[in-house]
């Protein structure tokens, strides 16, 4: 079963719509037990990383998520769902995150419009099943004011330029996370979902 984690803040609707359109059965849940028994977990996100961490802690979801990822099971993080994978975030003061990918989350630099809002290209640094059939430098839809700065580039498989070049796709084992919103990125975004689900062994 695909579990879409509902921690009360993210707009899950588009993620759910994308899965429905692609024909993958799924369930929205905020129960720790559902995360642990899932075959695939999606952590969507809109809003602030600091608030998201607080919500996840309140719902006792941080431990099960960490355990789930540590067991190298299929996990897809989106937007804030990518940022909370890092060690800390600057959003809402310095806050601890899940610490799965060593590194920090910082605010976008001065001199560019914030939020970074709109379609921007993702440069594919590595071949990865999640990119299957998607051309290099395809545009995806971004909305964010903070970005992830991993300590090393081992897990970075995609980057995007906005004032600076930043990490827009992370992958580590069966974990994939995108700073952009594939569920808002038209047909190529849906393709990315489909690629991930195939990688996760999900059947339509």
């Amino acid at each position: 079963m695909i579990i879409v984690i509902d921690y009360g803040a993210g707009n899950l609707r588009s993620v759910v719509n994308a899965l429905t359109l692609l024909g993958y059965s799924h369930r929205v849940s905020q129960k720790p037990a559902d995360v642990l028994s899932a075959n695939t977990v999606i952590l969507p996100g809109v809003g602030a990383a600091g608030d998201t961490m607080k919500s996840l802690e309140k719902l006792a979801l941080t431990k099960p998520i960490k355990q789930y990822i540590a067991e190298n099971r299929p996990f897809l993080g989106i937007c804030i769902g990518l940022q909370v994978l890092l060690s800390t975030t600057k959003e809402g003061g310095e806050q601890k995150c899940l610490g799965i990918i060593p590194g920090r989350v910082r605010r976008l630099s001065e001199g560019v419009k914030i939020p970074h809002m709109g379609w921007n290209q993702v440069k594919q640094l590595k071949n990865h099943p999640v990119f299957a059939g998607i051309p290099d430098n395809t545009n995806f839809y971004f909305v964010h004011s903070y970005y992830a700065v991993p300590e090393n580039n081992v897990a970075v498989i995609g980057t995007t330029d906005y004032g600076i070049s930043f990490c827009s796709v992370l992958a580590q084992g069966k974990l994939v996370a995108t700073q952009f919103h594939p569920e808002k990125s038209g047909e190529w975004g849906l393709k990315l979902y489909d690629n991930f689900m195939k990688m996760a062994g999900e059947k339509r």
Partner: protein, 263 residues
């Protein structure tokens, strides 16, 4: 590089698209869902639904329209018109809108911006602003108008640039700047207004009101320093397709997303 967004705006009245939309390929040009799909295929970067009736009865019809559209079209969707409370905003976001646009309600109650931003995030809250040149002002000034749906609107005495500034401080994540002088004329956006606002705020600015030719969009994105352009008539009347406009802009060095369509 971040691309410039081309955003068609659909005026919806009681669940139907109004304004003379005429396309041969459409079975029902008044159906917002079908028209949204059509624009998506043409390469629209976002869509705006503007509820021009905006009574509470129609809000439930609008919710159905949004829900339907969001289940089929996977690009960002903004809903505006008649949203007065955080609950109104929530009712649209819940069914699949990504952003909500507030205009008169924000002027009457600026706290609405902050409350919306706190609850849903700044990225969800779009300030729509109607501004009109103050005749004879030097340096040039613009006044914010409200209630522009009916009889030309009401002047507020507020300065447009100051209001834009304040709205961003309150939590608006984007500003749609509509020129009352240019709106509906198809003679071009108010470029001076656009650049004045764009230079004074840190959030993205969307140009609205006045587009008649692809060159008008080009001017808004260059001299006007806008991050996106909103247009209605130029697309609805079928004079130019979104694809045509994007090619025109790309040929002039504007970064736009050209790869719409199915993989």
């Amino acid at each position: 590089m971040l691309t410039k967004r081309i955003i068609p705006c659909l005026d919806v009245k009681a669940g139907r698209v109004v304004k003379g939309v005429k396309f041969r390929d459409l079975r029902d040009a008044g159906d917002p869902v079908e028209l949204a799909g059509f624009y998506n295929e043409q390469g629209a970067d976002e869509l705006v639904f503007y509820d021009i009736t905006a009574s509470s009865d129609n809000r439930s019809i609008m919710r159905e329209v949004v829900e339907h559209t969001a289940s089929q079209i996977f690009i960002p969707l903004t809903v505006g018109g008649g949203l007065r409370t955080v609950e109104d905003m929530h009712s649209m976001l819940q069914v699949g809108a990504d952003k909500v646009s507030i205009n008169t309600a924000a002027v009457l109650n600026p706290r609405l911006i902050t409350e919306g931003a706190r609850r849903f995030g700044s990225q969800c809250i779009v300030l729509g602003m109607d501004a009109k040149r103050v005749i004879g002002s030097t340096p040039l000034r613009w006044e914010v108008f409200t209630h522009t749906g009916a009889d030309g609107g009401r002047g507020t005495g507020r300065d447009a640039i100051e209001w834009a500034h304040q709205a961003v401080e309150l939590g608006a994540g984007e500003i749609v700047v509509n020129s009352i002088d240019a709106d509906g004329t198809q003679t071009g956006y108010d470029i001076e207004l656009l650049s004045a606002i764009s230079e004074s705020v840190t959030v993205p600015v969307v140009a609205s009101g006045g587009a008649g030719t692809p060159d008008d969009l080009f001017q808004a994105l260059t001299a006007g320093k806008a991050d996106a352009v909103l247009a209605a008539s130029i697309f609805h009347y079928g004079t130019y397709s979104i694809k045509d406009v994007k090619k025109f802009l790309a040929n002039r060095g504007i970064p736009v997303r050209l790869e719409a369509g199915k993989p």
